[in-house]
């Protein structure tokens, strides 16, 4: 199976890649970043019009333009193919995104926010290739997914916490899951792809992913949708439902 990824940035791409390893057993070579990078060269990526857009706008643009996603899902290829579209909800209230942020104090805030952004994402893709397109909606930020591993809170969804990026940094300082050497290595890493790959490396194991899913509903919903889509194309491909391996 080959999976294409449309993501806001390299950090999100790295995390999604690790989740794909846990959920479907895919290696990095099986996962292709459709966005960022591969649809442009440095000349077009550096053009003033491209620089003016924020990351979520580029994801929206990629969905609406569709050609790059359609090319990945081309029916001519005989291997099973999926595309994961990742987006954070942190800026969902902005003009152009146009998803009213649900009441943050409500019990169902995380799932309501997740479902509203997923519906917006489906609007951008106009429901095309619905069976092969998997929305990866991270409520607030992808950091909240990683936070569910390093600092799970009993009875609280890490997607409902404010400033997950800052919380994750603090959690990394005190977690026993990393050695001092690993902590320092991550802190010094300049490549966002490598940094977030290391940060979310533990989530490559199905057992660890299952535990994190219990503390972040948007992560759980993404993985469940991913497994459903993969199982429909290639039965037996989902590893999350298996016993620990």
């Amino acid at each position: 199976m080959r999976v294409g990824v449309v993501a806001e940035g390299w950090a999100d791409c790295a995390v999604v890649r690790n989740l794909l390893k846990a959920a479907l057993g895919l290696d990095a070579a099986d996962v292709q970043s459709i966005r960022p990078e591969l649809q442009t060269d440095e000349t077009s990526a550096g053009a003033p019009t491209a620089r003016a857009l924020s990351n979520w706008q580029l994801v929206r643009e990629g969905c609406e333009r569709w050609a790059a996603i359609e090319a990945h899902l081309d029916d001519a290829f005989e291997d099973a193919r999926l595309v994961v579209v990742h987006i954070d909800t942190a800026e969902c209230h902005l003009s152009g995104f146009d998803v009213p942020r649900p009441d943050g104090a409500a019990d169902d805030y995380v799932t309501a926010c997740h479902d509203a952004v997923l519906a917006a994402l489906r609007g951008w893709t106009q429901g095309r290739r619905d069976a092969q397109l998997v929305g990866a909606v991270a409520v607030e930020e992808t950091d909240a997914w990683i936070l569910a591993h390093y600092a799970p809170e009993r009875g609280a969804d890490t997607g409902s916490l404010l400033q997950p990026k800052e919380r994750l940094q603090k959690a990394l300082e005190r977690t026993n899951a990393l050695s001092d050497r690993e902590r320092e290595s991550i802190r010094r890493e300049r490549s966002m792809l490598t940094r977030y790959h290391c940060l979310s490396e533990a989530l490559r194991k199905p057992k660890t992913l299952r535990a994190a899913m219990a503390h972040n509903a948007s992560l759980g919903r993404f993985v469940a949708r991913l497994c459903d889509a993969a199982e429909a194309l290639a039965p037996g491909s989902c590893r999350v439902h298996e016993r620990d391996t």
């Binding site: 292709q32 001519a76 290829f77």
Partner: protein, 139 residues
Amino acid sequence: MALDDERRVFSAENANEGILHVLFLRVLFLHPQGPRLMGIDHLETALNPHLLRHLVKALAGIAAAHDRQALVTTPNPAALAGLTLHDDAQRLFIVSRDDDGHTQARRVTVKPEHAVNGAKLKLSELWMRGLLGGIPTHF
């Protein structure tokens, strides 16, 4: 500039490297005592990408006609323009490493009744866009 008659000869050492490479390959594929099975690393050496397409197509035809088989490696997407994946004798494999560092070879197959991407994109473009795999993933 006109050359004198006696100077209108280009010796092999004056031909460019690409031409020598093409001549060498044609001899290799056509010579009666040439190998039936051969491995060729970096087929694209010293060739213009557009010429590479024609070289691949020509060698595929010669190999079929003269009972030769060649395992060819190339990091140049233009080579794919000379292949037809609808011919089972011409096979494309993506060779990469898995996450444990082990070499993996995966054949790229297309359904017989389909033009890849509706013929909107060339195979070489699909490779460059990452749609076939076979590109570095750690940048």
